[in-house]
């Protein structure tokens, strides 16, 4: 048994975690202002923005994958610009995977943060403004520390969801060993070549880890007696 475990190539897992870590960090920085804006605005554009950010939840990964693939390829102005001006390829490499993952996991970061911000007592935020503090300080020192469960949910679920993606990464990244072959893609390939032993071990590891992550989130949230997950 130990021999089998030792003989396994863990690179796809490391790739999955690297991808998920970078994606979570980028999304956290990008989504914080967006979630704050959505929670505070009364503008008529709010439903449109909310609908757009929620699209990745309902769209088939193949649709997201297809559009991103098209946008990043040399056939589109965006892909052509990066290729010709900056010399950067955006598809079938790790960079492409990060961009695709950011679109795919966007709602899992925005929605818990937004509902967390919306659950805050408005007077508390106003009290901070009256104390002479800017919006930025208020978000950092008052809003974020008071939505810890929502913050935890957003970060952990975004990470876990990125580890778990399959369709989009396969379309954008293909399956290049040590570059774009993440755990979920590796399992798909093992099943295709009927290497069920490796598929079992990989899938088992994914199952246990995913369960532990979710258990951790729900235990934390139960302790805080608050749930900020998707409305």
């Amino acid at each position: 048994m130990i021999d089998i475990l030792n003989s396994i190539n863990y690179t796809p897992f490391l790739l999955s975690f690297k991808l998920a870590g970078i994606t979570t960090l980028i999304l956290f920085i990008l989504c914080l202002p967006l979630a704050w804006y959505l929670s505070q605005t009364t503008s008529k554009s709010k439903p449109f923005l909310e609908a757009i950010t929620a699209l990745p939840i309902v769209l088939p990964p193949s649709v997201i994958g297809f559009y991103i693939l098209y946008a990043l390829s040399y056939n589109s102005p965006i892909g052509a610009f990066f290729k010709e001006t900056l010399g950067i390829d955006l598809i079938f490499n790790f960079t492409g995977l990060v961009i695709a993952s950011c679109f795919y996991s966007l709602p899992f970061m925005v929605q818990p943060l937004q509902s967390g911000f919306e659950s805050l007592n408005k007077n508390m935020l106003e009290a901070s403004y009256i104390s002479g503090k800017s919006r930025f300080t208020t978000v950092l020192k008052v809003a974020l520390p008071n939505i810890k469960p929502a913050l935890m949910t957003a970060i952990i679920v975004t990470f876990a969801h990125t580890v778990g993606e399959f369709g989009v990464v396969l379309m954008i990244g293909g399956s290049i060993p040590d570059e774009t072959k993440v755990a979920s893609v590796a399992i798909y390939e093992m099943v295709e070549i009927m290497d069920y032993t490796s598929a079992h071990i990989y899938s088992g590891i994914m199952l246990v880890m995913s369960f532990l992550v979710l258990l951790g989130v729900y235990t934390f949230n139960q302790k805080q007696k608050f749930s900020g997950f998707i409305k």
């Binding site: 007592n121 007077n123 508390m124 106003e126 009290a127």
Partner: protein, 283 residues
Amino acid sequence: MIHIAINKKLHGASADMQLDVNFEIKDGDFVALSGKSGSGKTTLLRILAGLEEANGIIHVEEEIWLDNNICKAVQKREIGFVFQDYALFDNMSVLQNLLYVKKDLVLANHLLHVTELTELKDRSPSTLSGGQKQRVALCRAMMKRPKILLLDEPLSALDPVMRSKLQNEIIALHKEFKTTTIMVSHDPSEIYRLSNRVLVLEDGKIINDGSTKDVLLRTKGSQKFSFEGELLEIKKVDVIFIAIIAIGQQLVEVVVGEDETKNLNIGDVVNVSTKAFSPTITQ
């Protein structure tokens, strides 16, 4: 001197109305803002604080807070605000709540001492009682040494004993800091104890403005006792009629003549008054 002349369209519960007020407040005054709910009291405070927009002017001493071209940001206005629901920062201890406003440990410790909160300074706000929370909120509002202190029904959620204690603390702080204060309140005894001027708002307009005594002591002519109440019931006992009237939390029985009963309907707001030559006061 503070001059306030503002105008704003409000979307009330029943109908739209115009908040339209123009008044001046002397430095160091304690003004009570009274009136039915939905009359625009809280909105007026929020406009003063800069939390809501409005047309008009707000001049505080020589400074312009609001006119046609200027609208000073809420962060820049020298105000303290005490909310009805305390609005403390739950992630900070009592002392940190105060120091967040200004890093002045001497003032923070002094305020905590005046309000008898020194023992609780390291506690989290969520572990405090309502009265303790509101004292923390009051201290926090004073940390900026504001020019104007705004109190939005600060004591309405507290029991009578705690109310009275907090009233004393508000008086003590007002005496010490001489902060011009505007307080929204419905409680006549509270208004009487704390303020020296009352503004009564109705549908966005000031309908009464005067010294606390003039506005609150509703006596006409030589009548010394005069109370407003709601007529609950008129019952016939033998040959006389007795009206049951609710005055505040108290129910009283008043003898009325048969002719008078014809003009009275259940639910009417009535005035009960008498010439009290030698009333008895007991404890």
